[in-house]
Amino acid sequence: MNEELILQHGLTLDEFQVIRKYLNRDLSIEELGIFSAMWNEHCCYKTSKKWLKKLPTDNEIVIQGPGENAGVIDLQDNDGIAFKIESHNHPSYIEPFNGSATGVGGILRDIFTMGARPIATLDSIRFGLIETEKTKYLLNGVVHGIGHYGNCIGIPNIGGECEFESTYDFNNLVNAMAVGHVQKDKIFYSKPKSIGGLIVYIGSKTGKDGIHGASMASDVFSEEDEDEKRPSVQVGDPFMEKLLMEGCLELMSSGLIESMQDMGAAGITSSSVEMASKGNVGVYINLDKVPLRQPLSAYEILLSESQERMLAVIDKKNNHKVREILQKWQIDYEVIGEITDTKRVVFESNNRKVVDLPVEIIVDDAPEYDREFYIPRKRKNKDFDFSKIKLEDMIINLLTNLNYLDKSWVFDQYDSTVMGDTIREPGQSSGIVKIHGTQKVIGASTDCNPLYIRINPYEGMKYTVAESYRNLIACNINPLAITNNLNFASPLDPNIMGELVLSIHGLKTAAVKFNTPIVSGNVSLYNQTNEIPIKPTPVIGMVGSNMDLNKINTNKFCEIGNKILILGKQLTKNCSPYLLQDQKIAFNICEFNDLEVLDLDFEKKIANCVLELSDLKCIISCNDISRGGIFSALLKMQYKDMGFRVKVPDPIDLFCEYSAGYVIEIRSKDFEEVTSFLTKKGAEYHEIGEIIKEGIEINSKKFDYFDIMNKYRNDFEKIIS
């Protein structure tokens, strides 16, 4: 086999030799395609596996950890919650609308493949500077795509994040997360149960879209590639997915299928190989039976990533009933093969075996690399000059920075109230939905602090996990588990590999301390174009719960005259990275001081105080303090024309970042009770002011409330259009 062909398939010559030696024969082109699909980063995690193994993935509430289509946690009374986050970065840069739409479609399939009904989605999206020519087009396309898919299928979008930074100019990130509800005794796994079971194809016909999508997602970009790679982007049909979801959920609840696998990345190849591997069995599939949209070669069928397709295993006797149900939903259905005892993957086309491989070589012998990595150098400490900074300018700096402005323009394009169970919509610290027909609620949040992680990957990752944690705590949601989406540039650069290794280590430390295991995740590497790497962006999706929806806190001010208290510890202004960056004090990444060590025990202590005070109904509203400090937290809390009057020793304090930072609103009459509670717990607090009507007042200086609010609420749309 010629070298060029092997390299085109994304395999190294060494990797090819391993296969060649194992088989002791030449490979068919179809077999080469299979290895291309299965041995890339996206499917086999060859770079990250060694480090991912170190993450905590289990505790008393984990029903299913990583390794299935989604992780599942236990929420008592037979309620399980399935969730996962997944990236669709590269496709969304090449074709933002379809790229992001199919990202949502893919993650929803991961959820309902487990037998769970999706109940919420979130998305973490990052773009380059708005001044960059393409950003507006990408932003419009991505938001439109996410909305189009989720709105049509009818799953509420309850939150996420949207940031702009030059590091994403040529590599925007689109990470979509979905959460589903499943009855614990009705969870479906991808492992087939019996030899002789029929392998059936359910869903859209197979076409040419997305051929080689998974290997594309594991590749470095150059700008010229873009047009050439567009055909690798899949095209989504949310209506078909809605039918597929209802059809599959009906099949599952009727007990007619044994196992199910979504045809996602690497299509029928990946789903059938995984099925065989999980069950320690073999699969035989006749490719001539696969429903096609257009004439395709065996090679193309194997690698197509056409959307809205599932592979399932059923008992022969149920064939007729399954067909009947799917007919009602107008979904294509075909028996295409069966489970065998050979432990081999066999694909036949035109009476010819085009693929005949032992499962072992594809899955168990997949490469695993221990790549070289460097640990970042220790930073020198320096004092910055804050003398020229004026309060007015600091406020203007925030109000002219997209990252701080209200993102309604984004989430107003999403349906966030369909299904009728939404408690907190996007724009609050965490999105919250009720589990249908119960009093239980699920909260979820996605976060990442790339700047922190670039400065110090280990500590920075701890801050990222802590921020997600605080987002949930602020709403009185008890954090339970994590899904992660590790977006990095090329791991072949030891500096980047170092960021990957250390941030996974930081994730581990924080997850162990918070008892929030990682139950699912995704890795997206090679996010770099023209040799410009993205900042490390390991996104966290954290899920938590409260058994009583009446105990949930709002993030919005409730009553004029109520007091405003601050909990937590302020980071010094020399060590508040976003303050330094966004107030234009530090420009270059080498200028920043190292991060202060984050005390996770302190985070937990303050969090427990917030939870207890919330249960006592002493907290009227609460928000966490993150980028933009107290000022930004207060802006987000304004509601119904209520503003704030605060006094602080130094106005810069209002813009510093925090560890364990929360703004809480309390009634004057509860002041004694709250403060003595906090004192007893040894939790420091600061009373900084009160809620006032239509005003913003800082250290007796009055600002124009409506001017500030108008900019905060409406300038995002002005800037991006």
Partner: protein, 226 residues
């Protein structure tokens, strides 16, 4: 006599469950879920055509659903002087069937709109009886094609016959819009001439329970039951 109702489900409907819960919780009576391929409809007081993307909204929102088998029965139900409510995609379907005037075109800003909106009643009918004049209701919208349009002649007819049930308005606080989607005369919902068929873009079934942001969606069912 207990109040009986039904919700029609088309392929792609995604607010059918919400509408069923809304009816069960507020009417306390019998509620049926009817698949679009059925050819008979139980005798009920109210039928809801729910929101969603029936048949993917391909061709035109509501166009394909308006040709479903069950539609003949829905029309008979309406001609029988019983209540028919189309919410969002249901409203679009009603205009496609021709039970309601006008059409729903793309929102003024050409973007999907999912947010709270404020409406008040324009002319009294059986669907809004228990709502006070000038009372502002907060109810979510979620649509891409909610911009109500009709020609001047039709608009005059709608006004003269008092068929405009709801119009968008500003909320109590700053930063709320007068007319969120550009509908002609800010129309949010209309009835037929006999006022037993109502189509509206806002989703009352997402604003009735204690945990919802607003409970103003209750008024519609309460008006019908009273």
């Amino acid at each position: 006599m207990s109040f009986k109702s039904a919700v029609i489900t088309f392929p792609g409907s995604n607010c059918d469950r919400d509408a069923l819960c809304y009816l069960k919780d507020l009417t306390k009576g019998e509620v049926h879920n009817i698949w679009h391929e059925e050819t008979s409809l139980p005798k009920v007081d109210l039928v809801i055509l729910p929101g969603g993307f029936s048949f993917g909204d391909y061709l035109r929102s509501g166009a394909m659903a308006s040709k479903s088998k069950i539609i003949d029965e829905v029309v008979k139900h309406a001609n029988d002087n019983r209540y028919l409510l189309g919410i969002c995609n249901g409203f679009q379907i009603l205009t496609e069937i021709g039970l309601l005037e006008g059409a729903l075109i793309r929102n003024k800003k050409l973007k999907f709109l999912g947010k709270n909106c404020f409406i008040k009643k324009k002319f009294k009918n059986n669907f809004n009886l228990s709502i006070k004049d000038n009372q502002i209701l907060q109810i979510p919208v979620a649509h891409n094609e909610g911009n109500f349009y009709c020609d001047t002649e039709t608009l005059n007819l709608l006004k003269n016959n008092e068929q405009i049930a709801f119009e968008y308005c500003k909320g109590e606080f700053s930063n709320t819009e007068e007319n969120i989607n550009g509908s002609i005369e800010a129309i949010a919902g209309i009835t037929n001439k006999k006022k037993n068929v109502l189509g509206m873009m806002p989703h009352p079934e997402r604003a009735y329970s204690d945990f919802h942001q607003s409970q103003d969606g209750r008024f519609i069912i309460e008006s019908l039951i009273s």
